[in-house]
Symmetry: C2
Subunit: 414 residues, 2 copies
């Protein structure tokens, strides 16, 4: 038999010289480590409440799924997704989101992340322009960087995506003789700002996409988790699914560990994405379990989650009001997981992070949410993961460190 | 609430004009559909025996995993993989493969497919050269095409990879002032030929990789499924893991539905691959279930599978001897799932496929295993999926159709 070999971590080959553009641009270590959240009051990631994860019901659903469908649940699966899950999803989208799609307009993906990666592979060559809200989802910032997208950022204000900035960006690209590959927006409870884009702006985005013959990639990861305000029709629905791709996920409702999301798009686009998706089927086992669990449990579970997160949002808002230094502002989201905090410009949230972490608290510095690393005086706070009783103490630490930074900055100015 | 919208499958935007090189090159529909294997005697895919999938034990393992680790199994996970599964894998690799690696040399992936995709993203820009055995794994042929790799094929003979053809390819690239990004080989029971590369050739491949400062990507998906002959040390082990990446999977042993595979590589390469792997963790739920199931069940289950597949291989070899037309040759694999059949050159296996399918049998035409669509008179037969009693009747149909084709071709020549 094979002999054991020594573990060598130094390669003989000069592998870096062999790297592609993507390989060369990859940072050494931006990856997710769950150890980051252990033993801390963590406001850093959009992790669901661990106590609400439906472990027992999923165990039961697994036994049911394997009893009924053991031969398909453990086999390779369709590239476009387990048909049983696609049917469950179509029913859910019609009931909750008012979105009515055919099965060939659906692609089941490993969370929203695989959907984003496939869209980028399908549309973006190195250096191609993409318009995106800035700040935006950390995973999108990283995915754009990975494929070398030229990201043209547009701000988010209290009505959502700044559509006139989108119009200017489109005009600018047209003047250059090029075109955005797509416009990426998070329409509800935007990550990280928590802001929902208004109905008028949704309609304007569609007009702009049609006028400039480009696409919209609408990310609606947080749709189900609304704690206030009225639900708006998605851009995808308003557009009749013609120039819009719609990304969603079960990560925030059933659980991220299932790694199940989806993309809706015109059927020809789904066919192309599926051609690039050489994966033997997306998480076939988990998809069968989800198809068993979702019809019976999703609605009740979402009701439970809304109660939990609504309460945590309010706890965090109250703590911010109590502990933040003067001159600090923050958003009040109608749903989702995030509050976006803007400090006086003397604050650098990356610089103050080690002090906060040393005191057992964690947050996401603003620059992580920008492709150009701006947002230096901003931070994203997730209220989903830390338990109720730790929210106020955690925010107090952040407020305390921020006040110290401001004092020091004021002192330096004297 | 959102109103229901009509399902429109025709996009307004001219999406094809927005496609990347990858999007433009993607064929309209090469994707996997499990419906293909239903109601047929299917020798087409490397699907495991459905009756041997361990559904009941996996249901039990799921309950155990969710009871013990419900908070992590349903949460986001580490980009490099669930540490519990990495430990189980390291133990297995040391025990069975004689491979001893550190945890930072391991990346857990969604089957072997995600490992291949990440390696291609990290090393291959459009048009970059890759050396690969031809014929090879259908998924590799598709993945190479997706990223626009310039594939330089080297034959497989009865000793495995034709290493002198590799040497010539390396020399040719050097003469052009370039270098192969890597050399892709399936060292044991090659897919599709079933041939195992000899020890001398394994050593020669390492010499060549070192001399030309390139890497080897060794795919060992079928390692555990050996029915004859002696186990050889992997190229990865012989090389001390210095210039070799090693790809494996639980798809052929635990079950493809788990979508769990791995890549071993020098630690700096793993770090880069992980940077490009924005996926919230690979199948976190399934990884926890696998970490529970594998230690207790893998060895016994592999023993069972060896018995099943050994018998099916022999049934298929006997049926080929009985039913194939004169002038037809085939390989006798020591393991894995595949037999590679070469017909007289008058046969076109793509042309005869509809007749075979009409009679309820299916196989993979040779050209699917070549980047240049050669192999017109060859076919891959998988003996893993079709039940014992259907193998001889299925092979009889193929032999019958092939004989008819030869008669017709002979008649045309007259």
């Amino acid at each position: 038999m094979a002999q054991a070999v020594a573990s060598l971590s130094t390669p003989t080959t000069n592998h870096r010289a062999l790297y592609s553009q993507r390989g060369q641009a990859a940072p050494s270590m931006p990856r997710l480590s769950t150890a980051d959240v252990e033993g801390r009051i963590s406001f850093v990631y959009g992790f669901p409440d661990p106590d609400s994860l439906p472990a027992a019901a999923i165990a039961t659903a697994t036994t049911q799924a394997l009893t009924a469908h053991g031969r398909t649940a453990l086999q390779y699966g369709d590239t476009t997704g387990y048909p049983g899950l696609i049917e469950v999803l179509r029913t859910k989208l019609k009931r909750d989101q008012g979105i009515d799609v055919a099965a060939n307009q659906v692609l089941i993906t490993a969370g929203g992340s695989q959907a984003m990666a496939l869209v980028l592979d399908t549309f973006v060559d190195w250096g191609d322009p993409v318009i995106s809200e800035m700040p935006t989802w950390l995973g999108a910032v990283q995915a754009f960087r990975n494929v070398g997208a030229r990201v043209i950022g547009v701000p988010v204000d209290d009505q959502g995506t700044d559509v006139e900035a989108v119009a200017r960006a489109l005009d600018q690209l047209a003047a250059e003789g090029t075109r955005a590959k797509f416009i990426y927006v998070i329409s509800n409870f935007q990550n990280p700002t928590g802001i929902t884009t208004s109905l008028a702006r949704r309609r304007r985005l569609i007009e702009l996409a049609h006028a400039h013959d480009t696409l919209i990639l609408e990310d609606d990861a947080y749709f189900d988790l609304r704690y206030g305000g009225d639900s708006l029709p998605s851009i995808f629905a308003l557009d009749g699914g013609r120039s819009t791709m719609y990304l969603g996920t079960f990560s925030k409702t059933m659980g991220p560990g299932m790694r199940l999301g989806w993309l809706l798009a015109p059927a020809p686009i789904i066919a192309t994405l599926a051609s690039l998706k050489i994966d033997g089927g997306t998480n076939v086992f988990g998809a069968h379990v989800a198809a068993e669990w979702l019809p019976e449990h999703l609605t009740d579970h979402v009701d439970l989650l809304r109660t939990v997160y609504h309460r945590r949002r309010d706890l965090m808002l109250a703590a911010l009001a109590e502990h933040m230094p003067p001159g600090t502002t923050w958003t009040t989201p109608d749903g989702g997981f995030f509050i976006w905090v803007t400090f006086p410009t003397a604050i650098d949230t990356r610089r103050m992070l080690p002090q906060v972490r040393e005191r057992g608290v964690d947050y996401l510095p603003g620059p992580a949410c920008f492709s150009d690393a701006s947002g230096q005086n901003q931070m994203r706070l997730s209220f989903s993961f830390a338990s109720d009783d730790t929210i106020a103490p955690g925010i107090a630490v952040i407020g305390d460190v921020a006040k110290g930074e401001l004092l020091e900055a004021g002192g330096e100015r004297l």
